[in-house]
């Protein structure tokens, strides 16, 4: 199974409520998967302050204060590290690449789970409700968020196996389903010099899409390319700094419901995850068609 949710806000009036709404959506999907959970939040003023780069990390033996000292020493700039247990969110008033490489050299053993100007990724092994509390998700703000509750099938229950997969700047993918030919595709990508953090099938999809975007394709073309290349079952939600896109495989057995109002666009594995959204009573509700890319931009 696995559950996926996403919320793209159109009205700034709702930005302060992003975390509260996303928490409700994520926790409603916890019985579709409670091996691990994760979220990606765009535009939270604490996790990703304007003018700062943000890098999210997992699996480090250091605490927040030690991380700030270690990364700050490499960077030569003040670094803030927020403990969103088990994730750490690192931000600094520098470029994204500068912060990324400072993190890599200060804590080489840490797993980088997201990076960008506006994106904070929080994920970990554990029950979705428990993790949402530990992240402090309810208090998050911003214009866009996605979430995932995992029932592991293709790879082990490890921090690296949790979703979302954020493999490009301000990008992120969550997946319900399983890719079948991912090992073959991964072999090709590794041969082209790409590095993988996990044995997970979704990571291959996320890195494939990140590569397409880096090659200059737009999100719609990238996802059509994914449909053409990947075999398997999938409902995917792919978010970027300025976009939010949904696609399902040709068989479309993995569920997906989209709801849309003038104030927001939301997507979830099941309708029940959407019932707490303001104005859901009058939202336009539909299921995405197979192999059709649905994309919204800011």
């Amino acid at each position: 199974m696995c559950g996926i949710v996403g919320l793209h806000l159109r009205t700034p009036d709702l930005y302060p409520r992003l975390g509260e709404l996303l928490t409700g959506m994520l926790c409603e999907m916890q019985d579709r998967g409670s091996d691990s959970a994760g979220v990606a939040v765009y535009g939270d003023p604490r996790w990703s302050p304007p003018g700062h780069a943000t890098v999210s990390i997992l699996d480090t033996p250091l605490g927040a204060a030690e991380l700030a000292v270690a990364i700050g020493a490499v960077l030569g700039e003040p670094v803030e590290v927020i403990d969103a247990d088990p994730t750490f969110v690192v931000n600094a008033p520098v470029g994204v690449e500068a912060l990324r490489s400072a993190v890599a050299s200060a804590v080489p053993e840490a797993l980088v789970i997201g990076f960008g100007e506006d994106l904070a990724v929080l994920k970990g092994v554990g029950h979705p409700r428990d993790l949402a509390d530990r992240f402090g998700l309810e208090h998050a703000q911003g214009w866009q968020g996605v979430g995932h509750t995992r029932m592991a099938t293709e790879s082990a229950v490890t921090p690296a196996g949790c979703h979302p997969y954020a493999t490009g700047p301000d990008q992120c993918m969550v997946h319900n389903g399983s890719f079948h030919n991912y090992a073959t595709i991964r072999r090709d990508l590794v041969a082209r010099g790409m590095h993988f953090d996990s044995e997970n099938d979704t990571e291959v999809g996320a890195r494939f899409v990140a590569q397409c975007l880096q090659d200059g394709m737009d999100i719609e073309t990238s996802l059509k390319e994914l449909c053409r290349t990947f075999d398997g079952f999938y409902t995917l939600l792919v978010s970027n700094k300025d976009s939010f896109a949904v696609v399902r495989d040709a068989i479309a057995c993995k569920p997906a419901v989209i709801a849309e109002t003038g104030d927001w666009v939301a997507m979830a594995s099941e309708y029940r995850a959407l019932v707490g959204l303001p104005g859901i009573e009058t939202a336009r509700i539909f299921e995405p068609e197979p192999e059709q890319v649905y994309a919204w931009t800011r």
């Binding site: 068989i251 479309a252 057995c253 569920p255 099941e270 309708y271 029940r272 995850a273 019932v275 539909f286």
Partner: protein
């Protein structure tokens, strides 16, 4: 017989199990029940066995009114996966649209969907009558054995793949037909059957606008020359 007092159940204050247990109770003292605030919950009003009227006031999750026997269930909203799956008799009426596998394996009764139905509508149907007001998704009526599927809109890819003796009537276009499914002549008995089903679902269409589809019966028994068609 005087109508009994309508009973109101509320899924925002009662658990799903309490609501379903009330509907199943041998001494249920109501012939009309309204279930409020379903909020997309799964398995609402499944396994009913009495000739009662149940209105579910809102959107439901998976398997709503599944295994229905004798009851008339109205869903005032959309239905998730597998609405009225394995229905035996009675009726299920969805005012909105239905997700995939609507009426799957159902043996009898009437399933009306006013909006669209997604993929696999009527998959392995075994005698149910289904009337869809809008369009249906791909692989609908896959291995359909008996019963009737009426579609007032269009049908997706691979309609009626590996179909047995179910009858399919489609008013709009069919994206593609599945293996062994073919268009067939409409005889007087077909117009009559279609008109009756449309009427039961509250429609008055000209039955001449519909095309009937069914099995060409070439794949019933395995023949090695047909191996590539399976």
């Amino acid at each position: 017989m005087d109508a009994l007092t309508p009973l109101e159940l509320d899924l925002s204050t009662s658990t799903l199990r309490e609501v379903n247990a009330t509907l199943h109770a041998p001494d249920l003292d109501a012939d009309t029940v309204v279930v409020r605030h379903p909020a997309g919950k799964h398995s609402v009003a499944v396994g009913l066995t009495k000739p009662i009227s149940v209105t579910i006031d809102g959107h439901v999750g998976y398997y709503a009114a599944g295994m229905n026997q004798a009851a008339d269930v109205v869903i005032n909203g959309n239905a998730g996966v597998g609405v009225a799956e394995n229905m035996m008799s009675g009726s299920v009426w969805v005012k909105g649209s239905a997700s995939q596998s609507a009426g799957a394996t159902a043996h009898g009764g009437l399933l009306v969907i006013e909006g669209d139905a997604a993929a696999r509508c009527g998959i392995s149907m075994k005698g149910v009558d289904i009337v869809v007001g809008g369009s249906i998704g791909h692989m609908s009526a896959f291995m359909a054995q008996a019963g009737t599927l009426v579609v007032r809109g269009d049908a997706g890819d691979a309609l009626g793949d590996s179909i047995y003796e179910a009858r399919l009537y489609v008013r709009g276009t069919v994206a593609s037909l599945g293996a062994d499914c073919v268009a067939k002549e409409m005889g007087p008995e077909h117009h009559e059957q279609l008109a009756a089903l449309l009427k039961a679902a509250g429609h008055d269409d000209d039955t001449h606008e519909y095309t009937r589809y069914g099995s060409s019966r070439t794949l019933y028994h395995f023949h090695v020359d047909n191996a590539s068609a399976y």
